[in-house]
């Protein structure tokens, strides 16, 4: 896992506050910069001011933090101009919050763009296909304005092969394309990028969905330049279709700067060994299937594999293991002590199979695993990985009544062993308040706490009480907490605690929780730093929605689905807040004109651009 992934999934610690008019009734947020809009029709400044501005520009070159830059731009017009001239990275957390042309007019020398589109619940099929977040209008604006653009990073955007072609044609210095959870493109677009971006260093495809039909797959790997390349990172484990392995092997051989390589599940161990032999300098390796392509007892590639890993002295991050054959695991022993990041989240391993590996991973900081290892496996993790910062435990069988073998016991082990834990994502069937409380006390550095009790509305496994007490402890004791996902049986009390103590929380995910409007009110009124709030299947109605009116301008978005909202409440919000875009999303488009009073899905977000013009039929903007 790249470090950037964690950054992208957390809320940005520097709010990307653009020009928001302050809501004078409830001005809570302490980074409420509210400078003037872009100056229109200025006369050029006098000479002395010009000198000062030049000096300022030289200074501001060094300013990289978004929040600092936003603050600097609000000082006065001169500073505004200087900051705009010197900003090199453009971060837009919601592609509909501002129009492309406006961004491009203000910032004219951008080298790197980060752009996010759909709300996160789109990952779980809650946003119908075709909702929006097209990259096209952006790439066209960028193509016309930013000759020096080097890096594009997109998350949850809809990207077509045509967009990729525009990238390849518009930016002669282009170096870095990172696509996370995107869809709409195919191997054809990849071929264009590979072929025409001669300075390409990074091509990272992370959890994207490609549109290839089996018989239309393009051999994109062969399109990289035949000469020595400058490729440093090639990540394509999400590309499900087969590829030309020989071409990859040759590409790796002529890419001396290659540090990160993550291949897809069409790579068996024998091929992996060949790749590793070509690139012993790798730091990050995605191992494909980690399965032998021959049957048992024929050729034993073990020896070569062991020496391949033994020769890879720089490996710090391993992933892949998509169809792991555990008998080959001992091959990675030589690198375990150096690993800082290990992703077993596709490997169906038992505790016995995990144990000999994890015992050697003393320096592990990031560990992703399946719950097949059980509480016993987590005990081994807790005893071996004292430096662990991030843990994710995914369910092997993600259904509500599956036999998950991790529980509160495993969480307790982790809390006792991994005291430096900062981020945890934990899927389980049952949990206890006691274990959550223990974690809150043992791991005070927690910044991200995401607990998913897969059975909905489930109380404490032992006491039968709601899970309020556990989450209360988390928000009370983990004073650095900025991201929280709750689950289990929760009453309004839980939200009262969150509102009372969760003062730094920026991202909150709620599902199947709460009793009444009061729950949501507590959160809206109490969580002063709240940026992203996503709620599903919880009994919050219009009254609670309206209670949040003073705060919505300080947030990036609010998502509410399968709650108790109606058109009346949503319309009132839209009426009251002109700079909010209030979208009501339906699953199917009814034939009749009259609208249904109940609102199934609400997505509202602040925006300078007003109602978007690319709205599909199933979305209504109020």
């Amino acid at each position: 896992m790249r470090e950037e992934i964690s950054d992208m999934s957390e809320d940005d610690e520097t709010g990307e506050r653009a020009r928001w008019a302050p809501d004078l009734s409830k001005n809570r947020s302490d980074d409420s910069d509210s400078g003037p809009g872009p100056p229109i029709g200025d006369s050029p400044p006098p000479f002395s001011d010009q000198v000062l501005e030049n000096v300022l520009e030289n200074v501001l070159e060094f300013l990289t933090s978004r929040r600092d830059r936003n603050a600097a731009s609000a000082v006065c017009r001169s500073w505004y101009r200087a900051e705009a001239q010197t900003r090199r990275e453009l971060f837009i957390g919601n592609c509909y919050a501002v129009a492309p042309h406006r961004a491009v007019e203000r910032f004219q020398s951008i080298k790197s763009v980060v752009l996010k589109g759909k709300p996160r619940f789109a990952d779980f099929n809650l946003v119908p296909f075709g909702w929006g977040a097209q990259f096209e209008p952006w790439v066209k604006s960028f193509g016309a304005a930013y000759q020096h653009l080097e890096r594009i990073c997109l998350k949850r955007m809809s990207v077509t092969d045509k967009d990729l072609t525009i990238i390849a044609e518009s930016f002669p210095l282009f170096k870095d394309l990172t696509l996370i959870c995107c869809e709409g493109f195919s191997t054809l677009g990849l071929a264009v990028i590979a072929e025409r971006c001669r300075h390409l260093r990074v091509l990272d495809l992370i959890e994207d969905y490609l549109e290839d039909e089996d018989d239309e797959v393009v051999d994109w790997i062969s399109r990289f330049p035949e000469t020595t390349t400058s490729v440093e990172s090639l990540v394509f484990d999400c590309v499900t279709c087969p590829f030309n392995f020989d071409a990859l092997e040759r590409l790796v051989a002529r890419s001396p700067s290659l540090q990160r390589l993550r291949v897809n599940h069409h790579v068996a161990l024998e091929q992996l060994r060949r790749l590793m032999a070509r690139a012993p300098q790798l730091t990050h390796l995605g191992t494909g299937t980690f399965r032998s392509e021959v049957g048992f007892g024929e050729v034993d590639p073990n020896l070569d594999l062991v020496s391949a890993f033994g020769a890879s002295r720089s490996l710090v991050c391993l992933s892949g293991f998509r169809e792991i054959e555990p008998e080959f695991l001992p091959a990675i022993y030589p690198v375990c002590a150096n690993l800082t990041s290990l992703n077993f989240s596709f490997a169906n391993l038992t505790a016995e199979e995990l144990n000999p590996v994890i015992r050697q991973c003393h320096n592990l900081q990031t560990f992703w695993v399946l719950d097949s290892v059980g509480d016993e496996g987590l005990r081994a993790v807790a005893e071996s990985c004292r430096d662990l910062r991030e843990l994710r435990v995914f369910p092997l069988d993600p259904t509500e009544d599956s036999d998950s073998s991790v529980s509160d016991i495993g969480l307790q082990f982790i809390s006792e062993g991994c005291r430096k834990l900062r981020s945890i994502l934990y899927f389980c069937q049952r949990m206890t308040n006691a274990a959550v409380v223990a974690m809150s006390k043992n791991c005070p550095d927690l910044v991200v706490f995401r607990l998913c009790i897969m059975g909905r509305h489930l109380p404490d496994r032992i006491t039968g009480e709601p899970m309020d007490a556990g989450f209360r402890a988390i928000v009370m004791n983990c004073k650095k907490l900025t991201r929280l996902s709750v689950s289990g049986l929760l009453t309004d009390k839980a939200f009262e605690y969150i509102g009372c103590y969760g003062k730094l929380i920026r991202t909150l995910s709620v599902a199947f929780a709460g009793d009444s409007d009061g729950g949501l009110r507590y959160v809206l009124e109490g969580c002063t730093r709240l940026q992203k709030l996503e709620i599903r299947d919880s009994p919050f109605g219009d009254a609670s929605l309206i209670s949040g009116l003073p705060f919505y301008y300080n947030m990036r978005f609010l998502w509410m689905s399968s709650c108790n909202l109606s058109m009346r409440g949503c319309k009132e919000v839209a009426r009251n807040k002109p700079n909010l875009v209030v979208e009501v999303i339906r699953d199917a488009v009814e034939e009749e004109e009259e609208e249904i009073e109940a609102v199934e899905k609400l997505y509202l977000y602040r925006s300078l651009a007003g109602a978007r013009t690319d709205v599909p039929a199933f979305v209504k903007i109020l």
């Binding site: 779980f124 959890e207 590829f243 048992f296 199979e353 069937q429 059975g455 006491t463 199947f512 909202l565």
Partner: protein, 282 residues
Amino acid sequence: MEGEAPRLLDLIPKDRDWVGKGVCKVKNGIEEKLELRLGLPGEENEKEEKQSAKSAFSLSFSENVSKRTFLGSVVTNEGKGTERKASGAPPVAHGTRTINSSIANNSSQTRTSNAPVVGWPPIRSFRKNLASSSNSKSPLETRDGGPVNGNKADSNKKGCFVKINMDGIPIGRKIDLQAYGDYDELSSAVDQLFRGLLAAQRDPLVNEKSGGENNQGIKGLLDGSGEYTLVYEDEEGDRVLVGDVPWKMFISTAKRLRVLKTSDLSVSSINTVSRKRAATEC
């Protein structure tokens, strides 16, 4: 876990087609309605509640405590649920749910019923189907057609790989059940697989690949006469002695194999096929 199975079986009326754990996998009419039904918590039918609650619980946690307490909290929800429905706009029906209070349902049913809720648990789609893909995977080249990557094609048929673990040996193996024609072939394959490992466990100086003269074969797997016995786990998770059903039926129902010490087997912990038949409705 197996030890508690008889108690559950006693609870179930004889016309129910259930064995083992009480998770709803039944096909009779009432259960079907329950499976489809997904309401908000609090929509309950008192009568069905107790029985369904008992039967709906899997054996993965303490039955008695959680049943009582869960029912306790369920009742609380019911009270609130009724209030909610009475005031203001009704809860929005979501996706596959129908709000039909005449259908017997309760929170435990909505939780453990097999009807899926869209997007729950919140797992991205590429992380689903891991359990099935790791148990029975096809050869690499048949997955997406076209061996563009030059993988050598062994065969075109899908393999039926199941995990096999042996008592005392920490690392399991996988075997392709379809590679064998009958139980004898399977038995000798298991023997081959584990013989060397077993010897190595007993005597660390023995190399796994050393000559077989000194290695004792693993015999009597199927008839209980040897030191070890072969059992399998079926779709419902029950352990069954290998050898009773026709071979073809075996390879389609076996999900996992185990080689257990014969001395460790107790009569009650292993189902034989005949016992399973007696418990089920033909």
